[in-house]
Structures are given as structure tokens and as C-alpha cells.
């Protein structure tokens, strides 16, 4: 539980941080440190330099802009969970943030850190997929935007260059949305986490986006479920039928001592249905 030696640098600005990253030297971004530091203590990660961005004002804040919600990448989970704006415009995301870890984790860990780390069982990626969020990145060449569905590429792998960092995420408000998860009882990471966003009109589902985490190498959309919902009445029978095949197309389903692949598949069905029903109840 003792990391190998490293240098520490507190960035003065976003550009300063990016310049440090661009210089190479095995630098890693440090924000909340709640993924990185445990890995360093286990010596599974041995960066030469930590560039601390936790106090940069450019990464903070939750705001409404041009009809979208924008959350700075440095925002801690507790701030998301307790934000009046988030709770009103997208209660599902507050729910996701409030389900992460424990109060200590939620007061240090950041949204950007979670997305950049992309643990296969992280909660936020499922929500970003369901919200069809844009992820705003900045590097030496300036700013670019990636859709969540294009961002998560594989195991701990995202569309983020070594000299880039996440600045913010943006998404449209979504009231009819919910998150349902089965907790792994040691880590309290989700074994299965399902985020659902419904576009409801009258009693009908006009469209849906469903994000899944914990099951494969990285978070994914459940396209078949989304298609099965479109145009159907927003009722229990629809959700049951749509969820029934939620696990059908999933490949390389994770298996560990906490949940076999077979159990995970079965739970994908259960928690997809629960997320859909909860989302509709909010709509």
C-alpha cells in the first residue's frame, strides 16, 4: 500500500496542465485521485508525474447553457448528487452520482476522472450513454467534442489522447430517466447498472436510450431494447418485453466470484426492466 516515488505538480491553468501532459514523462492527471491513488498504492500504476487539476476553476461548475446542462469535469460526485439543477433537470444523474462509493468517495471523486478512467463497472458511463451526452475534451490543438457512444472504446480505454483531458460534459435535460443497479457487495460497484432515458408522449414511448455498465469491457448502449420500446405504450408489459432480450446480444460478459456471466445476463434483464419502469414513473 505504498506507491513508488513520483513527482507532483499543481497546474496553474488548464493550458498549463495540458502543456505538462504534452511534455510526456509519464505524466498522469490527478483530480479526485479515487481511482488513480488506490492503483498507485497497489503499484498497479506507477506514473512519474502527477499533474493536479483538482482546483482549476475551468473544470468546475454545473450550469444550464443553450438549453443543455453542462457539468465541469472536476465536479465531485456529491456536488452532482446534491445539485438543485441536476435534481430538477435530470434526477437520474443525481441518483447515479449518489450511488457511487461512500460519502468520502463522493466528496473527492470527480465526474471527469470517472469517465477518463472508464472502469468497466463505473456508474457514470451508463448515464452518459443514456443521456447521449457530449464529452468536451481539450488538448494542445484546442477543444473537441465526442459523443458518449463514441467515447468508450474498451477496457479502461476511451477516445482521449495522452495530452488531452476532459473539460466538461453536456446533455439535454431528461426527466423521464432512471438508474437501477445491482451492487457488488464488497466494492459496491455495480455488477449490473442500467441507465434509461425515455422520450414519452402521452402514454407512448417515442424513443429511448439505455446505457449498460458492469457487464462487459466497457459501458454500451442496449440498442435492441431501445428499438423494442419505440412506439410502444409506456406500460409494464412493454418494459417486460423490451427487457426480456436485453442480454441477448451481449458478448464477452464479465464473470468473477461475485457474478457469473449467466447471472449477469439474467440481472441485465431484471435491472433493465426496473430502470425502464422507474423512468416511466418519473415521466
Amino acid at each position: 500500500m505504498i506507491p513508488s516515488s513520483f513527482d507532483y505538480y499543481r497546474a496553474a491553468s488548464l493550458d498549463d496542465a495540458i502543456a505538462k501532459l504534452a511534455a510526456g514523462d509519464g505524466a498522469k492527471i490527478l483530480a479526485g485521485g479515487h481511482s488513480l491513488i488506490p492503483l498507485m498504492k497497489l503499484r498497479l500504476s506507477e506514473p512519474q508525474l502527477l499533474v493536479d487539476v483538482a482546483r482549476l476553476p475551468e473544470l468546475s461548475g454545473i450550469r444550464r447553457q443553450d438549453g443543455l446542462i453542462e457539468i465541469g469535469a472536476g465536479t465531485v460526485h456529491h456536488a452532482v448528487a446534491s445539485s438543485a439543477l441536476v435534481r430538477d433537470a435530470c434526477p437520474m444523474l443525481a441518483e447515479v452520482a449518489g450511488a457511487i462509493g461512500d460519502p468520502q468517495v463522493r466528496n473527492r471523486g470527480t465526474l471527469g476522472g470517472s469517465l477518463a478512467h472508464a472502469d468497466p463497472a463505473a456508474d457514470y458511463p451508463a448515464a452518459m450513454l443514456a443521456l447521449d451526452a457530449e464529452i468536451v475534451l481539450r488538448g494542445p490543438g484546442g477543444t473537441r467534442t465526442v459523443r458518449a457512444r463514441d467515447f468508450f472504446l474498451g477496457l479502461f480505454t476511451v477516445d482521449l489522447a495522452p495530452d488531452e483531458l476532459i473539460v466538461a460534459v453536456r446533455f439535454a435535460p431528461a426527466r423521464a430517466a432512471a438508474y437501477a443497479r445491482l451492487s457488488q457487495r464488497a466494492s459496491h460497484f455495480p455488477i449490473v447498472g442500467v441507465a434509461a432515458v425515455l422520450d414519452l408522449q402521452g402514454g407512448t414511448v417515442r424513443g429511448a436510450r439505455v446505457g449498460l455498465t458492469g457487464v462487459g469491457t466497457h459501458a454500451t448502449r442496449l440498442a435492441a431494447v431501445e428499438q423494442a420500446l419505440a412506439g410502444r405504450p409506456a406500460d409494464a408489459a412493454t418494459f417486460e418485453a423490451a427487457a426480456a432480450h436485453a442480454a441477448d446480444g451481449l458478448e464477452d460478459v464479465n464473470a468473477d466470484i461475485h457474478a457469473s456471466a449467466e447471472y449477469r445476463r439474467a440481472m441485465v434483464v431484471v435491472f433493465t426492466r426496473r430502470a425502464l419502469a422507474d423512468a416511466a414513473a418519473r415521466g
Binding site: M1, I2, S4, L182, R185, Y263, A266
Partner: protein
């Protein structure tokens, strides 16, 4: 002037005096000990479960700046003897740092001494070890056939001990066995319940991992050792033996200790190595275990398989029990390893008047971390096996589980009760505890409510468990160290009271309970009393804190020492007040003549006189300091009944503990608040075992649950509000009537929960499920599969 009236404190809910400093971070733990010139140790540990060391290259480590020394196992063996054990059974040689062969992942293979922890750890990482891997012995059943190999040459089929018989018809040495009574019980049976059960391996997880500071002073030839231990006096004795020093030359100190749960009874290789390195190099050295190490380097608990057969009549009366026990003890015998499963045999009678019992114990070596005591240590296992089997019997007979137990209880007029297993239960009233629990939960209504919820489609179950445990350990015959406890009570010159205890509290609250006792004994404010413990230079003699013994044995010694000094003080007071010593009373901070309150001196005045005794009363030595050794006449046997309600999620298999009602009888209680705290902690660990905790090894002997990411500890959110009640059945074996309560919570709760989950899943034909009750395991049972 009127002074405030001092209330009697024994029996009151006095808040723990220890807590303000502990919760404000003002405690001094081993890692807080700083000495000029202190160097730091780090151990290089084996990353294979079983292998022969082909080569160790320490050159890179030795070359690092700040590295003082590096010792391989072979080099350590040149200045440190093998580790002794505390049981009389045959045992293979065990080196604190492995020589040639490693036998579990995490076993030390080399040790680094360096200027700080960081350098020490870097240097340990820089040591290169090459192994010829040997087949890992992981499965205990397979191990007993000698496959896939032997953990120790010379221990055929990996048998460490046994098969060792005990119970009806067996002589105490196990050599003469008469099976006729047990055979007859099974011949006469109208029903036999048979089940294989596993009481799984657990990791103790004290909040403070272990740590040692050793300071050998070459000029004096003495050694001071600080260690996070439950028993500094045993540590001192063991160090003296292994280092070839006198006990007078070693001072062992247990400063604040952040929990032990039995795992800090054992004297560990790291303690011997730290001391030996300090002596060899002539410098003070420190080793602090980190959390990752604690998972593999601190002893594990439980891990006993039981094949149980219960012979009964159809009216629920149990005629006999057979238990075949297989204890997976891991790679080595530690201090008490071999003895722990014998306590499972000892308690096979449980709370029942069973006429014939045969228990047979086999202990098996595997390539895993060694086991030793863990909260309850052998008794939760016995309770679990018997209470699960009785529940299966009740289910098979379609009888109420409470009724089956009632029909088999040892009646209260049969105490002291000689069990089939050789124990003599001191006192008990099991029916009273059962009735109190049934009343507290409104048993009949609880069953109706369960049935109503089931009709709604919910999977709700009720579980009940009785327990009796052996505590207050114990007479000297029951421990290799002796089973007494020691205390010295000193009335200081200013009238304040210092007392020492050989018990070594590390969460039990004895600084409070013992001060309550002395405050009452002398009629002084509790603020005037200080309890010293955990330092062999201050506490002359002692055994330590384990086996729920500190109040029952340590408290009794304190009471005796207090009585001795009080008698002497009465003689000084009698001289001052010109009265007879037998007429002197101690009340409200004064010492007075009975019936004549005007003839009084303050407590402090009498104390002062005892130290400046002019004139010295005839027949008295100056001073007020007396000591006592208390040797109990027997163990104590506290008992109780736990009832719980569990709901299983039909879709996910997740079990949720809804209610837990606990009736515990620990005899007389000194401080009910502290007793409740002890039971809370025990319940947390008992519930943790049932629902969450489980050390899992891979087939190549790696601990899969080697961090909190995979080893599930219970959290507050896993618990309902604990509904706690007591009955009081004092013990006759000590003057306090107190039985001990440190482990009780782990006994009844665990089987009660499994009984409840089996009840909840009974519609699926489930009759037994092994712990931990993982959601997937329960889900599979509902899918019609086997868990």
C-alpha cells in the same frame, strides 16, 4: 457544605472513558512510536502458494540508497530460531522467514531494513526471487488423499492432527473409544438428519493492521517491544524463549490496539524478526503491516467442514449426534491453531441434553494463510453446525423450531451440567432466554406475518438460534500460558487510585468497567481512578484479553486486589479514628466509623497517613498497594437466543436482514452500555459471516478476495436496528457473577440468518445452503440448480 452524592456505578450505563481520545485521534498506536535512529522493515513475500526457492537476488535492493541491510530466510535463520507453538501437537518446523520452500502466498522470503518505509518497500520490490513451483494444495478433501502433493514432508496425506475422537465413550486422551452409546442412539432413531456444512474461512480485518517496534539497547542488554497485540505478557514470554533472553530483560508494550478479534493473540514471525533484527544490528526498528499484507499475513479464522448426523425421535427429541470435522488450518501451526477446532468439539453439546455425541476432528494442512483464533474461535462453528441441523430436523418433522429446541434443553435444575464433551456448564436457564426472545419478537405473530407476506409472493423467512459458548477462559489447565489473571491496586499518596490489569483491552472498555468497580469499592469518584494495562514494566504479570475473559477473570483479580488494599487501608483508618478495622466504612470519598459519621477522615487523609505513618500502627507496613492473582474454578458458559427475519429478492437473490432480536445472558453486567457495544460488534461480524464475508482461494492458491474490492465487509447499511434484551444468570465461578460477552454476538446471529434464508427458500425445496449467502447462490437455488 454538602458534597455531591456519588452514585453506585456498577450496573450503570457509564460512557467509555477511552472514547474521547480514540475518536479525536489522540491515541498512541504502534505506528506513532518514534525513536531516534529508527529504521524500517519491509518483507518480501512469496507470490506463489507453493514453491521451492531456486534463487534470491538481493543485490539491487542492497545497492539502494538508504538500505541498511537485507536478510534472506537462510540468513535470518542464522540469528533466529524457528517459531514455537502453544499447543502440544506435532508440528513441522516453521521459520519466520521461509528457507527453501514457501507454503502460502504472502509468506515472507526476505526482509529489508531501510531508512524509511518507502525505501524499504522499494527495496523489497527490487529483490528477485525465482521459484520452482510445486502443486498448490487448496482443496482440503483432496489434500487428505495426499493430492496434489504434500504441504510438509513427514505429514502424510497432509494430516496435521487426527482423526481425533471426542465425546461419549471416549477417554480424555482420545485413546480409548467406546462407540456403543452413540451406535445405540442411531439404532433407536426414528429419523436421521445428515448434512455436510462448511463454516467458511474469514479474514479478521482489525481496523488497525499489525505493527511492531523493537528497541534493543546494546549497552543495557535489554529489549523493549511495542506491538499491536492482545497479550503483551505472552509476547514477552515467547520473545524471551525464542531470543534466548530473560523475561526480566524484555519489556513488551501493547499501546492503543485498534482491534484484534483473536488474530492478535498469535505471536507472529514479524514480531520475532523485528526483535531479532534490532538486536543483531543494535538499532531500533519498526515494521507496520499494510492492509494488503494483512489479508495474507495475519491469521485467518474458521474454515471447518462438518459432516453432521443427528439421530432423533419423531417427537423432536435428539438421541445422538455424530460430527466429523475437517479443519483447513492452512500452511502452518501458529500459536493456538491446532486448539481452535477442538473448541468446536468441546461445544458440540450446545444447549441440549443430548445423551450420546461423537465428534471426530481432522486438521489438514493446505497452501493457504494459517488459521488461528477469530472472534468466537471454534464455538461459532459448533453453534452453527448444531443449530442448522436442529433446524433441518424441525423442518423435516414439520415442527416449530423453537419447540424442538425446548424439548431438548438442558433443564435449569441440572446445572452444573457435565456435557458429553467434557465441559462442565456452570449455570444456565436456556428456556428463559428462549421465552424472552419469543416474547420480544412476538413469535406466533411473526410467523403469521411471514405467512401473510409469502401469500403476497414475497420470500420471507424466520430464523432462530440458541447458543452457549465457553468464556472466561479459563482455569490454568485450559491454557498453555496459565489461565489466571493478575491485578495490582495502589491507593496513591493523594488518595487517587492506580490499578493495573493483566488483561490487555483493545476495544473492550475495561478502563471504564474496572474504574466503575473500584469507584464503588472505595466510595470515590470514577475520575480518581486510572487503569493501567498493556505494559509489562507497569503490569507485573498477566495473560491478556481473549476468550471473553477480561471481565470474568481480569475483573475478578482486580476485585480481589482492591479488597486486599481496602482491608489494609481500613487498618490505617482504624488507627487514625481509634476504632476497630471491621467498623470502618468507605463512603462518599470519606472513611468513617460505621454508625458514627462524625468520626471520619477524607479518603485522601487516610491515604496520606499510610505513606507518612507517624506513628506507624502496630503490625502494618507503610503504603497501600496490593496485588492478586485470580484463578477461576471453571470456565463460564454464557448463552442466549437470536431470532431474525430475512427477505430474499425473488429476482436477484439478494438477502436483506429485516429484523434481529437478540437475547443474551452474560451473567451480571458491570456496564450494560459497553455490553451492548460488544454485542453490536459481534452481531456485525456474525451477520457478516452469514451474508457477506468469505476468503476465496483460486485453484493455484492465490487469495482472490485479497482486498476490500472483493472481500465484503458488513456496513451499517446492512443492519437493521438491533433489538436487544438480556436475561441474567450469574456464574458461581467468580466473585462478580460475570460471564463475559466479547464474542457472544458472533454465535447466535450466524445460524439464525442461514435458518431464516433456508426458511425463505423452503418453497423451492431448499434444506441447506452454505455461507456466505451470495445473491447468485440464492438465485441459483431458485432456478432449481444447486448452490
Amino acid at each position: 457544605m454538602s458534597s455531591p452524592v456519588l452514585p453506585k456505578l456498577v450496573g450503570q450505563r457509564v460512557k467509555r472513558r477511552e472514547d474521547p481520545r480514540l475518536i479525536q485521534g489522540r491515541g498512541t498506536y504502534v505506528d506513532d512510536v518514534k525513536i531516534v535512529g529508527l529504521q524500517h522493515l519491509a518483507f518480501k513475500r512469496s507470490d506463489v502458494a507453493h514453491g521451492r526457492i531456486r534463487r534470491i537476488d538481493t543485490s539491487a535492493a542492497e545497492a539502494m540508497e538508504g538500505v541498511e541491510a537485507v536478510f534472506t530466510g537462510r540468513q535470518v535463520a542464522e540469528f533466529l530460531k524457528p517459531m514455537p507453538i502453544g499447543t502440544p501437537f506435532p508440528s513441522p518446523e516453521h521459520r519466520a522467514v521461509a528457507v527453501d520452500v514457501v507454503r502460502y502466498a504472502g509468506e515472507p522470503v526476505a526482509v529489508v531494513v531501510a531508512a524509511d518505509r518507502y525505501v524499504a518497500r522499494d527495496a523489497a520490490d527490487a529483490i528477485v526471487v525465482e521459484y520452482d513451483q510445486l502443486p498448490a494444495v487448496v482443496d482440503p478433501d483432496l489434500a487428505l488423499t495426499g493430492r496434489p502433493g504434500l504441504v510438509h514432508e513427514g505429514f502424510a496425506n497432509n494430516v496435521a492432527l487426527g482423526p481425533f475422537p471426542s465425546g461419549t465413550g471416549v477417554s480424555p486422551d482420545g485413546k480409548s473409544v467406546d462407540d456403543s452409546a452413540v451406535d445405540e442412539a442411531f439404532r433407536n432413531a426414528e429419523i436421521v438428519i445428515s448434512q455436510r456444512m462448511h463454516n467458511q474461512r474469514l479474514i479478521p480485518n482489525a481496523m488497525e493492521p499489525r505493527g511492531v517496534v523493537a528497541h534493543f539497547e546494546p549497552g543495557r542488554g535489554t529489549m523493549t517491544v511495542w506491538s499491536s497485540t492482545q497479550n503483551p505478557h505472552i509476547l514477552r514470554s515467547m520473545l524471551a524463549t525464542v531470543l534466548g533472553m530473560g523475561e526480566d530483560q524484555i519489556r513488551a508494550i501493547a499501546p492503543e490496539v485498534g482491534g484484534g478479534f483473536g488474530a492478535k493473540i498469535n505471536i507472529y514471525g514479524e514480531e520475532y524478526v523485528t526483535a531479532a533484527v534490532s538486536r543483531k544490528l543494535g538499532i531500533p526498528v519498526k515494521w507496520i503491516e499494510d492492509r494488503s499484507e494483512a489479508f495474507v499475513a495475519t491469521t485467518h479464522g474458521r474454515d471447518i467442514i462438518c459432516h453432521i448426523d443427528v439421530a432423533a425421535r419423531r417427537d423432536g427429541r435428539v438421541l445422538g449426534i455424530k460430527m466429523r470435522l475437517i479443519a483447513d488450518i492452512g500452511a502452518y501451526n501458529m500459536l493456538l491453531t491446532a486448539a481452535i477446532p477442538t473448541l468446536t468439539m468441546l461445544m458440540a453439546n450446545a444447549t441440549y441434553d443430548i445423551p450420546a455425541i461423537r465428534a471426530t476432528l481432522t486438521e489438514v494442512f493446505t497452501n493457504k494463510t494459517p488459521t488461528d483464533a477469530y472472534r468466537g474461535a471454534g464455538r461459532p462453528e459448533a453453534t452453527y453446525f448444531v443449530e442448522r441441523a436442529l433446524d433441518m430436523l424441525a423442518r423435516e418433522l414439520k415442527m416449530d423450531g423453537a419447540e424442538v429446541r425446548r424439548r431438548n434443553f438442558i433443564p435449569k435444575d441440572k446445572f452444573p451440567y457435565q456435557t458429553q464433551m467434557g465441559a462442565i456448564y456452570d449455570s444456565g436457564d436456556y428456556e428463559k432466554a428462549l421465552d424472552a426472545a419469543l416474547a420480544a419478537c412476538d413469535w406466533e405473530n411473526l410467523k403469521r406475518e411471514r405467512d401473510r407476506q409469502r401469500a403476497e409472493g414475497r420470500l420471507v423467512g424466520i430464523g432462530l438460534s440458541m447458543y452457549v459458548e465457553v468464556c472466561g477462559i479459563g482455569p490454568s489447565a485450559s491454557l498453555p500460558t496459565g489461565g489466571w489473571e493478575h491485578s495490582q491496586v495502589t491507593i496513591e499518596r493523594d488518595g487517587r487510585i492506580s490499578a493495573t490489569t493483566g488483561a490487555s483491552p483493545h476495544g473492550q472498555g475495561n478502563e471504564t468497567t474496572f474504574a466503575q468497580m473500584l469507584a464503588d469499592q472505595f466510595g470515590v469518584p470514577i475520575e480518581h481512578v486510572t487503569i493501567h494495562h498493556g505494559d509489562t514494566a507497569v503490569v507485573k504479570q498477566g495473560i491478556g484479553t481473549f476468550g471473553s475473559r477480561s471481565q470474568a477473570v481480569g475483573g475478578a483479580a482486580l476485585h480481589m486486589a482492591g479488597g486486599k488494599v481496602k482491608a489494609k487501608m481500613a487498618r490505617f483508618a482504624a488507627a487514625l479514628l481509634e476504632a476497630a478495622p471491621e467498623d470502618i466504612v468507605f463512603e462518599q470519598g470519606a472513611v468513617m466509623v460505621k454508625g458514627a459519621p462524625a468520626r471520619a477522615k477524607t479518603f485522601a487523609e487516610v491515604a496520606s497517613f499510610a505513606y507518612i505513618p507517624v506513628p506507624l500502627p502496630e503490625g502494618l507496613e507503610p503504603g497501600l498497594s496490593e496485588e492478586a492473582f485470580f484463578e477461576p474454578s471453571n470456565n463460564t458458559y454464557p448463552f442466549g437466543c437470536h431470532i431474525c427475519v430475512v427477505e430474499v429478492d425473488r429476482e436477484t437473490g439478494e438477502p436483506k436482514l429485516q429484523r434481529l432480536v437478540a437475547v443474551d445472558d452474560a451473567g451480571n453486567l458491570i456496564n450494560p452500555l459497553i455490553v451492548e457495544g460488544q454485542i453490536h460488534g459481534g452481531l456485525a461480524q456474525g451477520i457478516g459471516q452469514a451474508l457477506l464475508e468469505e476468503a476465496v482461494y483460486s485453484s493455484d492458491g492465490q487469495l482472490v478476495t485479497g482486498s476490500y474490492m472483493d472481500y465484503a465487509m458488513p456496513r451499517a447499511t446492512d443492519f437493521p436496528w438491533f433489538e436487544m434484551h438480556t436475561t441474567v444468570t450469574p456464574t458461581p465461578v467468580n466473585p462478580l457473577g460475570a460471564k463475559g460477552v466479547g464474542e457472544a454476538g458472533t454465535l447466535g446471529s450466524t445460524p439464525a440468518i442461514v435458518n431464516a434464508v433456508v426458511d425463505a427458500l423452503s418453497a423451492y425445496g431448499v434444506t441447506h445452503v452454505d455461507m456466505a449467502l451470495r445473491p447468485e447462490k440464492l438465485w441459483r437455488l431458485m432456478q432449481g440448480g444447486r448452490a
